[in-house]
């Protein structure tokens, strides 16, 4: 068991990630979701919550995702669909956690199975949306800078308009 000590005394014990290697492919993800949604709030200790949250990320990275990848590379279509459904859920909540899957999506989108292609497309869209959000945040920062420069008169109206146009296009 992995032990987490609460500041005011008391401990929380969670199953070791090594044990999960024997689990069915979707179970590590179900476990992560279960602890995050049902237990984490009950621990009443910010630092222990943080530590456990980090441990859950570790499980996701070291066990859950690699196990899913092994299924995606396999030939059992039913297992692949079930794994893709889980990945879709992760990509909605935390796209970075699902990134290791990205290189496998190209191949899967060429599958003859329509369900596999459909879910793969949905996951790809989640990646695209997330990438756009990132780029927009970057541009927003630049835009704020340009606004300051324009107000200070250090850049021309033309330069400002160009930056503004780029930002608005991306936003749409």
């Amino acid at each position: 068991m992995r032990i987490f000590h609460k500041k005011g005394g008391g401990i929380i014990q969670l199953v070791d990630k090594k044990n999960m290697e024997e689990w069915s492919v979707e179970l590590p993800l179900i476990f992560i979701e279960y602890i995050r949604e049902k237990q984490l709030e009950k621990y009443n200790d910010t630092s222990v919550k943080k530590e456990i949250s980090a441990y859950l990320d570790e499980i996701l990275k070291d066990v859950a995702i690699p196990r899913l990848i092994s299924v995606l590379e396999g030939e059992n279509e039913e297992e692949t669909i079930s794994a893709l459904e889980r990945i879709k859920e992760i990509s909605k909540k935390n796209v970075d956690m699902a990134r290791p899957i990205k290189p496998y999506l190209d191949n899967l989108s060429k599958s003859k199975n329509k369900s596999i292609v459909k879910i793969t497309q949905e996951i790809s869209n989640n990646f695209l949306k997330a990438d756009r959000r990132k780029e927009l945040a970057k541009k927003r920062k630049i835009m704020q800078e340009k606004e300051k420069q324009f107000m200070a008169g250090t850049i021309s109206g033309e330069d400002y308009a160009k930056a503004r146009k780029e930002y608005l296009t991306l936003k749409e």
Binding site: M1, I3, G10, Q13, L14, F31, Y43
Partner: protein, 395 residues
Amino acid sequence: MAKKQQKKNWDLKAAKDLFNDYIEKGSEKREIPLPEDTIKIDDLNRKNTLERVYNLVDDIIERIYNTGKPSILLPSRSSSNIIWDEENDLLLLGKQIIEKQFHSLTSVADITRLMRVLEIINELLVKDIHATKREVFYTDVKLFTEQKTSDKSIEDAATMLYTTRNSTHVVAAPKGTCVGRLRIRDRNDIIDLEGLGSGGWTISPMLDNIEILESDAEFILVIEKDAAMMRLAEARFWRKYPCILLTAQGVGNVAVRMFLKRLSKELNLPVFSLVDSDPYGHYIHSVYLRGSKRLSYESPFLATPNIKLLGVLTRDLDKYKIPDVARLKLEKVDIKRIKDLLNEDFVKKNKKWETDLKLALKMNIKAEIQALSSHGFEFLTDQYLPEKLSTGDWI
């Protein structure tokens, strides 16, 4: 009318200190290797148990070819081969081996039953399913004639395979329940033992499907009786005092004892028992503590040697002023049981335990856990248990 108790916030200091001590030492450091003159039993997964079945059958066939005198070798389970390991406080099986030969009439019947049980075990393992001892008996009533014989063959088969009975997928019927600060998985289902109402989770005998996932408990309380369990469950005792409650409604069967052992070992928690203040209650505690003689071959997987007898102790009856009307006189059978217990090495070694049993004899009294209700229904949950766990008043 029930007397009013002063509600107090107990810190459970003694129980917490014990828990911290366990956590500091770690479970491995607390475990002492088993003595060399005892046989080693393994708790195996399905694949490894199947492998042992095949190896055993290969051995028998080879012996038939080589000697022409077919026989089976298995560790003796007679009382002369049961050893009490003082260091670990466990009853274990010694290294005496018996040979059952096919050519005597009594042995032939025994061996036929044994081979039939092995065949059933093989089927269960191949199909990855479980059967109760009763079901095994009904697979061949003519051969086994009564369940006692099939039960014996099942135990012999497990001993022959040098594994636990649970590893053979022959299980006991579900009996005990568990509730409290614990999350487990049963195959792919996550079960929250805090969220199952007062009834709790029925301890599955198919323990190979069970895994401990999460817990923030600080101790385990084993309760002899359903009524006391109900009182604690209704009070949601584990919410105020982080713990896991478990009952087997009497002597713990294999599944309950194995589950308790697992909880105690994996979570490294202190374990306490709450039993009637009578020799049978003490006997129930002793079975959790060091295993039973009949199943001594799998004691290392069934016994919880660090379990403490929290109550109800004979000395508690005066300390907590249990009225005379709630006390009972010892019967002949109780006196015999106390004397038998006093003769056991593990009691002789534990002076506090010996003293308490002698006190029961001297005062000629016994009492049930429910006798504590003479101070009000909540006395058990609000005063008795928290006070004992705070002060370390256990054996």
